[in-house]
């Protein structure tokens, strides 16, 4: 049997793995027949880890040692608002690591977010190997289109730690479009509305002659299905507080029970116009145990989350406008992500685009399928489909005046590069520092810092005489690379790119061998 590439949709809430077999992409089940695996890792007392459905059950049994929604934290700075928010509500311990990175502390051991994601990827690798009865070494992993450089890099690192050679990082909506249009010979403009557990993306693509061209993409990495659950939880907690003056949100087990109830309630409201939440004995008082019993209608829930849905359409407006289109010019709408199964979202999307979304696509599987198709296209060079993706954010450098000097604008096709000439401002200056940012704000401080490039070892000369050409490249994974050379002699200039945070190459290799050598056992639940 030939070499196989797996496609992995590493989601905030759930993860899936797929392959292409006999020209057909399919999602692989585990031993229990499950295809969609909760992105949850639970650390057992004996040092073993479990991932997926069994781990999710432990959210209530052992909340301190069970990690969920880690994707919300990957590649982020410890001081970012997202991390602060997660810290307030997470049942596990979030601490600060080196370079303002985020670490998760479990049983007095600190894990990087790349490691946590790696544990999930290892499980996907294991499922695929079991299914195929052969070793799997290569993968295509998807990320939200609006992930920045740091988040992409950390995801790629996770793959490496898991013992996978990540052939490509591709954008989730792009993968979905590929799965939708592959081999169909379509000629149309497609909008992919991708609401995941923790992120929202919209991409507009033009499909023609098996070329999948992303025209524009926009997103919000702070908005997802989890926020819908949170609204539900807040509603439950507030009603309970009004009645009993007890804040259930401060009790981690009660919070987890409400989270489960909110999830079920949300789905129930897709089928029914009303649902009842009933959690017996959610709080203990001197007077005995208290139950939580609340009725909620679909209309009321829609009211609770109205602004969240409207927020997604603001992002849609931006993407449609940047594509130079109006909504009526879009031929098909594809829904991606578990939360889009909610009827209130389906209806809202339908009224925004004036057309019903494509039926027959499983929003939880389509991304993994697309990743597998792309993986297959890379190793089979005879494949007819071609992806032309773009960078979701502008790349620029800080200027003395506080403004960002934009070098590569968003929605530029990737891979791409742009060069700029730098010089010195003092006589005999030996080094120049260049700070790189990603984002759309005119002021660089409002954007995401990527890191700093230091051009050093410049030959002594009068100020303004050295001419150093710095090339900023965004590769096919959407990851930034920087190179520099003397503009006249073309001799490579020494640079150090200090990506703010993240793991070094040595650290990644160290972790890879640590988990690959089998010293840290993985157990499969019965």
């Amino acid at each position: 049997m030939g070499e196989k590439v797996i496609g992995i949709d590493l989601g905030t809430s759930t993860t899936a793995v797929a392959i292409v077999e006999n020209d057909i992409a399919k999602v692989l089940p585990n031993e229990k027949g499950e295809k969609i695996h909760p992105s949850v890792v639970s650390f057992l007392e004996d040092g073993n880890r479990i991932v997926g459905t069994e781990a999710k059950k432990r959210l209530i049994l052992d909340p301190e040692n069970t990690v969920y929604s880690a994707k919300r934290l990957i590649g982020r700075k410890f001081f970012s608002s997202e991390v602060k928010k997660a810290q307030a509500i997470a049942s596990y311990k979030i601490v600060e690591g080196d370079n303002q990175d985020v670490r998760i502390e479990i049983r007095r051991h600190q894990y990087t977010l790349s490691e946590i994601s790696a544990f999930i990827l290892m499980e996907m690798k294991r499922i695929a190997e079991k299914y195929l009865s052969q070793e799997v070494k290569k993968a295509v992993v998807t990320v939200p289109a609006y992930f920045n450089d740091g988040q992409r890099q950390a995801t790629k690192d996770a793959g490496t730690i898991a013992g996978l050679s990540v052939l490509r990082i591709i954008n989730e909506p792009t993968a979905a479009a590929l799965a939708y249009g592959f081999g169909k010979g379509l000629q149309q403009k497609v909008a992919v509305y991708d609401l995941g557990g923790g992120t929202f993306d919209i991409s507009i693509l033009e499909i023609g002659d098996d070329i999948f061209e992303v025209i524009s993409t926009a997103g919000d990495t702070y908005l997802g299905g989890d926020d819908f659950d949170d609204r539900f939880i807040d509603y439950l907690a507030e009603l309970f507080f009004k009645e009993h003056s007890i804040d259930l949100r401060t009790d981690k087990v009660a919070l987890q029970k409400m989270k489960d109830a909110a999830e079920h309630g949300k789905w129930d409201l897709s089928e029914n116009l009303e649902t009842e939440v009933y959690i017996p004995g959610i709080a203990q008082t001197v007077g005995g145990a208290l139950d939580l019993r609340v009725k909620i209608t679909r209309n009321y829930f829609a009211k609770l989350v109205y602004d969240l849905i409207q927020k997604t359409f603001k992002v849609c407006d931006e993407a449609v406008q940047n594509a130079g289109l109006t909504v009526d010019q879009i031929d098909s709408v594809i829904l991606v992500g578990g939360p889009t199964k909610m009827s209130i979202i389906k209806e809202a999307v339908e009224s925004y685009f004036f057309k019903s979304p494509q039926a027959g696509i499983n929003p939880e599987e389509v991304v993994a399928l697309g990743a597998a198709i792309q993986g297959n296209a890379l190793i089979e060079s005879s494949s007819s489909s071609l992806l032309l993706d773009v960078t979701p954010m502008s790349l620029g450098i800080a200027t003395a005046g506080g403004l960002m000097d934009k070098l590569i604008s968003r929605n530029t096709p990737i891979p791409t590069e742009m060069s700029r000439i730098y010089t010195t401002t003092r006589d005999n200056q030996e080094s120049v520092n260049v700070r790189i940012y990603q984002g759309e704000n005119r002021r660089y401080e409002e954007n995401e810092p990527l890191g700093e490039v230091r051009l050093s070892g410049i030959k002594p000369a009068r100020k303004g005489a050295p001419k150093i050409k710095v090339t900023f490249e965004i590769n096919a994974d959407g990851i930034v690379e920087v190179g520099a050379e003397d503009a006249e002699t073309k001799i490579a200039q020494h640079t150090t790119l200090n990506i703010s945070g993240g793991l070094s190459r040595e650290q990644i290799e160290e972790l890879k061998s640590k988990y690959g050598s089998g010293t840290a056992p993985d157990v499969t639940p019965e």
Binding site: E213, L378, S381, L407, P413, P415, T416, E417, S419, R420
Partner: protein
């Protein structure tokens, strides 16, 4: 499926020559090509040189293909935006052609900055006109540039822009 010898020779020679080609030569279209022709050329050349098609080739070949493809996307990006295309055309048709084969953003010695208006209304209409061009609404662009020119009758940029969009509108018919 391995890449045949002829393709390899072609890739090697384009990669060697790439810094001497202008964007039109890279996309293999004439300087007066329409937007649709440029887009078609971008797709055609992407099929030929997208790095994904050479994923299993030795690194020295795939590096060259990546170099070519990056230049193809750069050409497409600059030529599909009317604003940057006009500036680029001026550069490659000037005596300084060799230095202007690649569009370089705002570096000393780059193209002179346009007079984007001195009065608030002139500035506003000029920006609206530029936005209309980006949305390929050339009639709207013309109206806005004309309004801008009404506010500042002596602004040379405004006059030049009106002539340019008129040409595009004519060319489209």
């Amino acid at each position: 499926m391995a890449i045949d010898e002829r393709k390899k020779i072609e890739i090697n020679s384009i990669a060697r020559l790439i810094d001497e080609l202008d964007y039109y030569q890279i996309l293999k279209v004439p300087q007066n090509a329409s937007f649709e022709e440029i887009k078609g050329a971008y797709f055609r050349e992407s099929r030929n040189y997208h790095p994904d098609k050479y994923y299993n080739e030795p690194p020295e070949l795939s590096k060259k293909v990546t170099l070519i493809f990056k230049r193809i996307t750069e050409a497409y990006k600059i030529l599909s935006d009317q604003e940057t295309r006009v500036i680029y055309n001026d550069g490659i048709n000037s005596p300084n052609r060799a230095k202007n084969l690649r569009y370089i953003h705002g570096v000393q010695g780059g193209p002179p900055k346009e007079d984007e208006g001195q009065t608030p209304m002139g500035k506003k209409y000029f920006q609206l006109g530029k936005m209309a061009i980006n949305n390929r609404d050339y009639k709207g662009a013309k109206i806005n540039f004309q309004l801008a020119a009404k506010m500042e009758p002596n602004n040379e940029t405004f006059k030049k822009r009106i002539v340019e969009v008129e040409e595009i509108i004519k060319g489209k018919k």
